[in-house]
Homo-oligomer: 462 residues x 2
């Protein structure tokens, strides 16, 4: 086998670096905003560009501009929040903007094509002194500006794009992947993109990265963080794992993708090569091999699409657990929304019909009190009671011997336990069988595409 | 609730104690046999009646007469076996008898209605010096004759009959229950039948009984015996657990039955109240609630029925494991033979039809070599490869999406791994569906009865 060549990386690098004219426009916008904040009256002390644009590690086309406005730690929380919002509203003026609430409220909007966030923050001495959740961020900006070389900024871009390509970039609920700050730490740790990928391909479970050696040993650090799969100590705050949002599966995917890339490096690792949708006949023949059934419900009112993806993730997992408790074996589930009108949760079920009777495994014979309750609770079983493996067991009629009924029940139960407006939306659910799923795919190309990807169920890098 | 009354026990006691005329006949037969052995020429030293008749703890109608013939430990194994058989053949004369081989050969037969066994044994100093497996038995006889009071012999009978009634008596493969010698030890330990049952009802897991306190502590003993559920140290040999053959489930059943008996003592605990067979319509309506499917095969040639029950137990467990590996969830299985022509193994299967595709869970991403093999072994999966919970998974077509096919395959595979004559018998298997199972029950009352008991699946004491 020929030794793999990485020559194409310079092409990738060029494609993902903002052009000189992009950079000029970005800098002009930053200067303009900082100037406006400075001349606006209020108790704020100063303002600072944070985020990847501040470190020059942002990807081309990524026009996020995060401006942090500093307030004295002596300022009461209430005035801090009020003044922060007032200032931001003034700066945005007539440009589109909205208040967003994460730990405290801030404003985001769009000015001349830039996605701008104006975030109030306390000016604290050390990251660990933080009074609000975002107070740590300016320390990150400072740390990276001090340590990342110009050359390394380019390497950060390559690694970010690689992680984007394998869908492991972003620490949000949907991705459970790698945040930008972590990518920067990896480049500081390993030096270059290629060395980082080589290291990644060799990662074992319980990998520890502690740039500033803030913990005495990796074992020591792991103990404090409950042996997580990847522990990356924040160089500005030793009590924080920068990789906290990275799921175990994303961690495993990164390792596998790194290995595959090193064995056969290709540009398509960086630019997720969207696999074409299946045709409707292909979908039909695929569905003949498995049992899909799901629910449709309207997109809940006044909900942000991003938030809804998180809700779908949570709700579909909850329903899956409920269905499993009813003895249905769910192989995979799939959720999708168009972000406006429709939401879908679809299950791939191993055993769509069960026996009409159900085994009830009661307490151990040693537990006399519970045995008595159990026997009294089931005075006329279909079969039993008997003792199996030391436990009292019996059979009773099964409430939901068909998956359809179980799914209906589970959707109703789930709706009841959710809050508005998801609750109202879920209450309007309709069951979807395979015919309806196919009909939906026929009507909506984007759904067809998502369904195809689910049915193929293939990692782009495998 | 009225305090339970145990007055009926005297009635039970009377029913299970051999009558004076029984006892006279038994003693006459023992004397006759011992006399004949004494006057027969050969290297044997003496003879002794062992077993429960020797201790006067045998149940009425139980006419087992075990005579042990002693040889010098200096006698070579070969002469020991040869002389033992020769002597026994002479004693049985024209009465029906056969050679049986357990660890060494001996002869059993029937003389005037008594089931007689004549077993050669080495006359050793201590039970632990034993040269052959049976050399321990005479020490048991000696120990019990020394320690059991006349009164306690009656208590042993009650406890034996109680264990018979709940089907926990006998240490054979089919019962995995309590041997007679253990019943005697329990009476020595607890004093009376009622006290023994009271103790039993309170037993916890890892109960230890060490009459002669041969081990320093129960914990110590348990460690040596791998923490078994019930450890009863043989008073004549501290390295032996008299309860070794008792399964965990039988142990649990004894505890539960004891508790039920004490709460509502009834005569039927002693005399297994045979529940009537279901009618055919009852069987049909029961089968509508579950999925039964099985195999029939001819009774293997020249096989003893007892041995066959053991084979059925083993083979049906093996098949169950094979079916489970094919993703079928077996709730229970049931086997039956008429001891002459037919044998049946029937499974109660939770999921008789599965999807046409099957999830293959491959190695962990961390195991690069096996991941590579796995991916190469499945070049064109139906879906995947993808990474789930850190493992490479994919879907492939399922070989046996219907239970019927899986059962057929499993029966063929099992036949191949068995030895003659079971192998030949299994090779002639036929699949049984519910219709055929009902037809069988219609034709064979004994099968109908066994099937009914299986379908009811109810402990007589619950």
């Amino acid at each position: 086998m020929a030794s793999p060549s990485f020559g194409f990386l310079s092409k990738v690098r060029k494609r993902i670096t903002p052009s000189p004219s992009d950079a000029r426009a970005e800098q002009a916008m930053v200067r303009r905003l900082l100037r406006e904040i400075k001349k606006t009256k209020g108790p704020h002390l100063s303002a600072l560009l944070c985020g990847s644009m501040a470190r020059n590690t942002h990807l081309r086309g990524d026009r996020d501009l995060d401006i942090f406005v500093f307030y004295s730690p002596k300022l009461k929380r209430e005035s801090f929040e009020k003044n922060g919002l007032q200032l931001a509203h003034k700066i945005f003026g007539k440009h589109f903007h909205e208040e967003v609430y994460s730990e405290h409220p801030y404003v985001r909007g769009n000015i001349d094509g830039f996605d701008v966030e104006i975030v109030p923050t306390y000016k604290v001495e050390k990251a660990s002194d933080k009074l609000s959740a975002v107070d740590r961020t300016p320390f990150h900006a400072q740390y990276m500006r001090k340590h990342l070389s110009k050359q390394q900024c380019g390497e950060v871009r390559l690694l970010k794009q690689f992680l984007k390509g394998i869908q492991a970039y972003g620490a949000d609920v949907k991705n459970q992947g790698v945040p930008g700050y972590l990518v920067e730490i990896l480049i500081l740790r390993y030096g270059t993109f290629l060395k980082a990928v080589q290291a990644m391909s060799q990662w074992k479970n319980n990998t520890v990265i502690d740039l500033e050696e803030q913990h005495s040993t990796p074992q020591d650090a792991l103990k404090q963080f409950n042996n997580t799969h990847l522990l990356v100590i924040d160089p500005t705050d030793m009590s924080r794992n920068v990789a906290a949002a990275l799921s175990f599966n994303q961690f495993a995917r990164m390792i596998m993708a790194a290995r595959q890339f090193l064995a056969a490096p290709k540009e398509r690792f960086f630019f997720a090569h969207e696999s074409p949708s299946m045709t409707l006949p292909q979908i039909k023949s695929h569905l003949a091999m498995q049992e899909l059934m799901g629910i449709h419900f309207p997109f809940p009112k006044e909900t942000v699409e991003d938030v809804m993806w998180g809700q779908l993730l949570r709700v579909s997992k909850k329903m899956q657990h409920g269905l499993e408790a009813k003895d249905y074996c769910i192989r995979r589930h799939f959720f999708w929304t168009d972000g406006q009108e429709h939401a879908f949760i679809i299950f791939d079920v191993e055993n769509p019909s069960l026996q009409s009777s159900k085994l009830r495994i009661g307490p151990s014979v040693f537990d006399a009190t519970h045995v008595e309750h159990f026997l009294r609770a089931h005075p006329k079983p279909l079969s039993g009671p008997r003792i199996e493996e030391g436990k009292v067991v019996l059979e009773i009629p099964r409430a939901f011997p068909e998956f359809k009924g179980a799914l209906k029940e589970e959707a109703q139960l789930t709706a009841q336990t959710e809050k508005s407006p998801l609750r109202e939306a879920l209450h309007q659910f309709a069951l979807l069988d395979e015919g309806q799923i196919i009909a939906l795919a026929k009507k909506n190309k984007s759904f067809q595409h998502a369904l195809s990807a689910f049915l193929k169920g293939k990692e782009s890098f495998l």
